[in-house]
Amino acid sequence: MLGKGLLQGLAVTAKNLVGSYHDPARYVTQEYPEVQPKLPEAYRNFPFLVSETADDPMGTLRCVACQICEKECPPQCIYIEKSKDKKPDANGKLQIYPAVFAIDTAVCMSCQICVEVCPFDAIKMDQEFAIAATDRFDGLLLNREQLAKPNAYYHQIHPTEASEVDARLAAERRAAEEKARLAAAAKAAAPKAAAPTAAAAPGVPAASASPGSIPPPGPPPSSS
């Protein structure tokens, strides 16, 4: 019958009109600036640098300025300058650190290759997407102070991945201690006159790999 389909169509739209006032399934709009989107865990856009603590981000960067990411970056958006001196890293080992670490987010294509190649778990993908700037050159060029974010933040945005990384780092640290202890024991056994500095690394607390907690950095060696 002519008109039946028309009336059915009108009923559908009328249901939508009324339903949008009381049925959340029919009214799904989130008004963005007021309501921030709940991003899925796997969401990523630009890289950030992981630091162990929030208090001293520049002192506890995991990055050792090996420049692998700089070389691998397909659009060449990472710029690193190595430091002349060395600073102790989270494990207390003396390392080179990045004196300059800059990412041009205008160029970055969010491919995550820097994250894949980093042997130190020092660079990870962030979820901060509102990075609009009035100056497209300096405003979008992020330096290491802007890029550094604590491990706790990493736990917030990618909990699963972050606890995996923490567990792996803790295991590596334990293995290194074990090796150091064995080496020290061997050294102590061989030339009776032991060198106390080699075994100086006191028990580094490495058991804190539970997600959400920051593994405390090893105390800097006081003996040197």
Binding site: L2, L6, V12, T13, Y27, V28, E31
Partner: protein
């Protein structure tokens, strides 16, 4: 706003007489020679103001309702609930650059939107908005209204022609084909009303719809079988006449580059929109007048609400219906459009003409004969509808899908 009807009892209410009293208070101190002129100017200003605001808030209501129907909020940033949006739109349209193509006919290009708005407005002069509220009292006001409405087609063709753009011209010709096709059922559906009411004057037609059968059933034309059929044909034709979805193919935003509006920008473009909404409002006001009892209250107990409020409510309901239809139906193709008019609406309106004539001839039937009268009239609507619908959809059976299940 000329005092027309003899005051009845609800007509004496203060609210009912408020517009006339206000008019008299404003013009009372003038010399007698000037008074009708100032009163006419006042009614023009009132119509412009009321329908200008109605246009502004119709655009907002349309966007809000379309949004809600599509599960989104619609404009809600400008002012509380987006209530200032129409003014923001107006400022935007006014400050935009007005581009006129070098090859265009400068005078006609400028004149087309002006003429269109003017012609859309002058129809409102003969609508009785309330018991004593009609700007121009005329013997043949229905004829005048449709003559003014038909002249808008000229303005649309003017826009297409003056742009000197082949797409504008083609679209204007399509618009003409559509408007002329639908002018026929529009007018044919009005004829039975004139036959039954026995007058071409809008005030008389409204007066003829006064009163209630058995104290409950209003004597509105839309509430009789022939009247309902005529009302339906009128509304479909009115949709097409005002270029509204699903008959908006002259400007089909998503397919053509806005048709005859291609070469218009800034405030002239806004004027075309204004004309569309004013035309829609004018045709809806005419539908209210002809079929929905004009300013008459639906029940005797509700007569304490002033007549112009009833008119406003009915007008708004029809306009909301236009928006609802726009949100629901997809656009027709030009051949489907003309086929619907010539093969369905015109025959239906012609049969309805006879139906209305029979109704007018049997006006003195009472009691059991009145039931027979209603039955005959209903038969005169349902039978042609079924046969015409069958012939219209013959050969267009349900579509079979080869690769997808519907």
């Amino acid at each position: 706003m000329i005092l027309a009807a003899a005051p009845a009892s609800p007509a004496d209410a203060w609210l009912e007489r408020a517009p006339v009293l206000l008019r008299d208070a404003l013009t009372g101190w003038l010399p007698d020679a000037l008074r009708p002129w100032v009163a006419a100017l006042l009614s023009i200003a009132t119509i412009l103001g009321v329908f200008g605001l109605l246009f502004a808030y119709m655009t907002l209501a349309e966007r809000k309702i379309l949004g809600r129907i599509q599960n989104r909020p619609g404009p809600n940033r400008t002012g509380p609930f987006g209530l200032l949006q129409p003014f923001a739109d107006a400022i935007k349209a006014l400050t935009k650059e007005d581009i006129v193509p070098r090859a265009a006919d400068q005078v006609l290009h400028f004149l087309a939107p002006v003429v269109l708005v003017a012609l859309s407005l002058i129809g409102l002069a003969v609508i009785p908005f309330g018991r004593n509220l009609v700007a121009v009292e005329m013997e043949a006001s229905v004829l005048y209204f449709f003559a003014a409405g038909a002249a808008t087609e000229l303005a649309i063709f003017m826009a297409g022609w003056a742009s000197r753009n082949k797409y504008s011209l083609l679209a204007a010709m399509r618009a003409l084909a559509q408007l002329i096709s639908y002018e026929v059922p529009l007018l044919l559906s009005v004829v039975p009303v004139i036959v039954v009411a026995g007058s071409l004057s809008t005030t008389d037609i409204v007066a003829a719809q006064g009163g209630w059968a058995a104290g409950l059933w209003p004597h509105w034309h839309a509430l009789t079988p022939w009247g309902f059929s005529a009302f339906a044909v009128f509304m479909v034709a009115a949709l097409a006449e005002s270029n509204r979805s699903p008959f908006d193919l002259p400007e089909a935003e998503s397919e053509l580059i806005a048709g005859h509006l291609t070469e218009y920008s800034g405030f002239k473009y806004a004027l075309f929109f204004m004309a569309e909404y004013l035309g829609m409002a004018a045709l809806s006001a005419m539908a209210v007048t002809l079929f929905l009892g004009g300013w008459q209250a639906p029940l005797a107990v509700l007569e304490f609400i002033p007549s112009y409020a009833w008119f406003g409510v009915k007008l708004l309901l029809l306009l909301l219906g236009f928006i609802w239809i726009r949100a629901t139906f997809p656009r027709l193709r030009i051949d489907q459009l003309t086929r619907l008019s010539w093969k369905f609406l015109v025959p239906l309106a012609l049969v309805n003409l006879i139906n209305g004539g029979v109704w007018a001839a049997t006006a003195d039937w009472t009691g059991a004969a009145a039931v027979v009268r209603w039955f005959i009239s209903a038969l005169g609507v349902v039978v042609p509808f079924i046969f015409l619908a069958r012939s219209l959809s013959a050969g267009y059976g349900p579509r079979t899908y080869r690769y997808a299940s519907p």
